[in-house]
Amino acid sequence: MRYSAYSILKQALSGNRLWKPAWREPQPKPHYDVIIVGGGGHGLATAYYLAKEFGITNVAVLEKGYLGSGNVGRNTTIIRSNYLLEGNNPFYEFSLKLWEGLEQDFNYNAMVSQRGIVNLFHSDGQRDEYARRGNGMRMHGVDAELLDRDQVRKMMPYLNFDHARFPILGGLYQKRGGTVRHDAVAWGYARGADQRGVDIVQHCEVIGIRRDNGRVTGVETTKGFIGCDRLALAAAGNTTTVGHMADLELPIETHVLQAFVSEGLKPVIDNVITYGAGHFYISQSDKGGLVFGAEIDFYSSYAQRGNLQTVEHTMEEGVSLIPGLSRAKVLRSWGGVMDMSMDGSPIIDRTPIDNLYLNCGWCYGGFKATPASGFCFAHLIAKNETHHVSRFMRLDRFERGYTIDEAGKGPQPNLH
């Protein structure tokens, strides 16, 4: 069923009895052309674009939990393309362009809201660095604007401009950045893929990868063996666990990142704001909750929950930036497990095994990348050829010395 004003009216007149589930719950077939491991945002987007753009529809997405139970529903919903490096910027801009047309494309309301993102700076050196990044973006044809203190104050009068140690001097503004309702992204891609014949199999955990003669022949799962011609991994924080089943050596460490939401408040924060004196980012959802987060917990963790110290640190940063935040109550917090790569950038590439493809290393910036990641991964799987915007995101770049270290932090995954 195509969603439209007409379909809503028709349903309303028939007492809403004719709505159908947005996707089927199929039992896995014995064999598929492509199996995608991981039914999160990237896995579902990959399936969607495989079917829609590349005509490969005999595809299964295997998800160990329920659809959208992982990081696609655990992030702070921010989209942007304000990256500096050549290996990153065109890719994230491609993603933002896909976000801009996504709802019409997959006929689902994902509440894409281009409310603008402001990265605040607090010192002359930081201003120069942001100006450089802004110039880099503009040279790639991406919108960027350097705001001075008064312009920021006009937009966000509630910020702590006269902080004794970290006064706000201005910000780098990307108007086309914003937020998207993250669950709807998973649902929209799932529905779109399902409509084109993709089987989305939930509660089906991959427990082994069967190989013969150096090629993958299928996967052992909790629902039995399923054969495939090509296998694609999009398992985020569990990439290593799955990768080890095929003896992959990976530059990945798994860490936990927490996120928070406050009680519902009247509209106060119009944009997405990031704090330059720490690492804190905040926006307000359409329901009114303030959605915010900070850094990872720094130690290796596979637990989808975090440490109280990080909770405290996040709140301190938030209140330091927005003093009024101290009066809001935190409603919920949660953790997700991140595939932190050694240079802070992702991997979309082939592996030493011919018909095994890898999509990982998203650190905690994977949500904004969902459409481009899915598109480029589908391109790679369908054509066995890297898409040109993801051509730097190679698995062997570490060995060759071509890391994409956006933050300049070196091979220390917990700092990216």
């Binding site: 666990t241 990945i252 798994t254 130690y299 637990a303 060995e399 091979p411 220390q412 995954p413 917990n414």
Partner: protein, 93 residues
């Protein structure tokens, strides 16, 4: 939740006093080792789920590097040793 770490020099201390360096398993190769070994040491990680040894630096205490032996799924801490003792035991073993 790994909130308290028992430093072998300072006793039981809050996690806030420590900074975390990363996996303790990779062993530094010799300066003349092959590029392949260095690549593996600098970039490749086992990243196991479960028991995990990690370098923690007691920055707000004795400033010694420690190795915290813990479970990265349950966050239970099994033991903490001084990094030089860890290295000595590993080299001897």
């Amino acid at each position: 939740m790994a909130s308290l770490i028992t430093c072998p020099h300072c006793g039981t201390r809050p996690k806030e006093e420590f900074s975390i360096r990363g996996a303790a398993a990779p062993k530094r190769p010799s300066a003349t080792a092959k590029d392949e070994d260095w690549h593996r040491y600098v970039y490749v990680r086992d990243n196991p789920k479960g028991r995990y040894q990690e370098y923690w630096h007691h920055v707000a205490g004795c400033r010694r590097f420690l190795v915290v032996d813990r479970d990265n799924l349950t966050h239970e801490v099994f033991g903490v040793t001084d990094a030089s003792d860890f290295e000595r035991a590993r080299t001897a073993g």
